[in-house]
């Protein structure tokens, strides 16, 4: 608590920010040491939402664990489902059908939209722009109804399965999604008019919480926070997984790495995601969504009820100690989640449950870099910077 206080002229004040504070969106805590209005030292604290996801992974079988991944990043559960099953599939050495890959891209991009929308709403709300919150929730509700029709749930989707997805798209999904992506840019324009050239918004975010590209890499920032510093790195481009090489899109980058650039990058990413969604819908292949491998995917319900083989396959997959059993080995698989690099490191001992599951959460490293962005700034910037990082407590603490 001492040291680094040469600048302190008056009395130093310690301000405890969180863990229950409206701008922390959950359970973040920052202890600020202030000299008047300027921040001398910021100490973020994590762990208030620690849930034991990694330990739980050693006790659930591979398909059961999908349910847990929903609850880790509750802004974009579908991306988490996707990243996890991809890791398991790569460990197994299988590749899912083309249609399934496209459906997964579709859902991952829609959930990127959902994530950025919620981020936009809450970040703006923190800086006093309440209308933006209502506007973005209006759009998010439309996505919720698409998710609900596809997966059966608004938030906790658990849509993917090892070797496929829970079910094919519903009839009329294409029209719903197309309607959404045609109207969405117009809705986003409303926000642009409200914020992008807004004097207050610019004053509060421009030059605030800036970080250089080198520091960003050293701190392990990824996703929009890294791209805002000017590094055009996107895992979807650098290591294309699941047919991402078949769609075209741009990787928006910023220049200053400040809160305003992070905002612009995310806004542009939403437009790019709409483009990806349209391309995916245009080129959606026909065929089955699940792998025809009875050792990995569940048989059709009619098969399970109507034939003894189907019943046996069904039974074998759901039985404890059977089911999906990757060979002994380990694998690290990274995907570009809306927040950055979401990695799953799975160690298998050849049984039906993982020996160790490690989740590499983007938010954890973003939150760590917070003091670097805050120190030397004003106390009122804290909210703006924290908002621009989009730290999700569930993912931070796991």
């Amino acid at each position: 608590m001492q040291g680094g206080l040469e600048r302190a002229t008056g009395e130093k004040m310690v301000l405890n920010f969180g863990p229950q504070h409206p701008a922390t969106h959950g359970t973040l805590r920052i202890v600020l040491e202030l000299d008047g209005e300027s921040v001398l030292k910021a100490t973020p604290h994590a762990g208030y939402l620690h849930t034991g996801f990694e330990k739980l992974g050693e006790h659930l079988d591979y398909n059961q664990y999908i349910v847990v991944t929903d609850r880790m990043n509750y802004l974009s559960p579908l991306s988490n489902n996707f990243g996890y099953v991809l890791a398991v599939e790569q460990l197994l050495g299988i590749e899912v059908t083309k249609r399934c890959q496209y459906i997964r891209i579709l859902m991952a991009e829609l959930s990127r939209l959902a994530d950025h929308l919620l981020w936009l709403g809450t970040a703006a709300l923190d800086l006093g722009a309440f209308s933006v919150f209502l506007y973005s929730f209006r759009e998010r509700e439309k996505l919720y109804s698409i998710f609900e029709k596809t997966t059966g749930a608004r938030l906790t989707t658990s849509y993917t399965r090892v070797g496929g997805v829970f079910r094919d798209l519903y009839d009329g999904c294409e029209e719903d999604v197309r309607q959404f992506v045609t109207n969405f840019p117009k809705a986003l324009k409303e926000t642009h008019t409200l914020l992008t050239k807004n004097r207050i918004w610019m004053d509060r975010t421009k030059g605030v919480g800036a970080i250089s590209a080198d520091d960003a890499i050293s701190y392990g920032l990824t996703g929009p926070c890294l791209r805002a510093t000017g590094v055009a790195h996107d895992i979807r481009k650098a290591e294309p997984y699941s047919s991402y090489d078949e769609v075209t899109f741009d990787v928006p980058v910023g220049t200053n790495g400040d809160a305003y650039d992070r905002y612009l990058v995310r806004m542009e990413e939403m437009i790019q995601s709409c483009g990806i969604v349209t391309q995916v819908l245009d080129n959606m292949p026909d065929g089955s969504v699940n792998l025809e491998d009875n050792k990995i995917t569940m048989p059709d319900k009619s098969d399970a009820y109507g034939h003894i083989e189907g019943l046996i396959h069904h039974f074998k997959i759901v039985m404890d100690g059977h089911g999906v059993q990757p060979p002994i080995g380990e694998h690290y698989c990274a995907t570009e989640s809306p927040n950055g690099e979401l990695g799953f490191y799975i160690v298998s001992d050849g049984s039906g449950t993982a020996y160790r599951i490690r989740i590499r959460p983007p938010s954890f490293l973003h939150f760590q870099a917070l003091p670097h962005m805050l120190e030397g700034g004003m106390v009122s910037d804290t909210v703006a910077v924290l908002g621009s990082l989009n730290v999700i407590a569930g993912e931070l603490d796991r």
Partner: protein
């Protein structure tokens, strides 16, 4: 004949060539799985190897993706391979320049849980190492601030060790509200 040619056609990844040339004594084992090079290095030289991987201009693994550990106490095959070292500290690296990944693993014996910290190489290592300390009890020497991060300060034990029960040892029922500093 043709088989031999095929073997020769597969060039050794650059990182392995360079490590074998410069840090051959540090390497315990190496492997390549699904495009990622995995090297197991001796604890004593771990810092030197990681520093080399980061600073070598041709390799430039400038991005430390993750630091974690695995408790191998129930994985006989791994245990035997590395002289019954209970823990394996795992570093995931990425090179923006070469757009490739590497994984460095360091066996750590239970009798000596110290391992040099890499916070001086990557600022991002700070919390990752703290978490590994919190969850496994690995002691990172030279770390500026090695405290628990996810669990409360007065917590006992290391939850991700295999001998720690999933449902805990009663911490979630026993509480002393006065003692805990809010």
């Amino acid at each position: 004949m043709s088989e031999e040619n095929q073997v020769e056609e597969q060039p050794k990844p650059l990182i392995l060539q360079k490590l074998e040339a410069n840090h051959a004594d540090a390497l315990l084992a190496h492997d390549e799985t699904r495009g990622t090079v995995v090297v197991v290095v001796r604890k004593e030289q771990a810092y030197a190897v990681l520093e080399y991987l980061k600073t070598d201009p041709e390799l430039a693994y400038t991005f430390l993706v993750d630091v974690t550990a695995v408790d191998n106490s129930q994985m006989e095959s791994e245990l035997m391979q590395f002289d019954y070292a209970r823990f394996m500290v795992v570093y995931q690296l990425y090179s923006y320049q070469g757009q490739c990944r590497a994984r460095v693993k360091v066996p750590v014996h239970e009798s000596d849980l110290n391992i040099p910290s890499v916070t001086s190489l990557w600022q991002g290592a700070n919390w990752l190492e703290r978490e590994t300390y919190d969850m496994f009890g690995i002691n990172f020497e030279g770390h500026p601030d090695l405290r628990r991060i996810l669990m409360p300060d007065d917590f006992e034990g290391h939850p991700l060790r295999k001998d720690y029960p999933l449902r805990g040892r009663g911490e979630r029922e026993r509480f002393n509200f006065d003692k805990q500093n809010v």
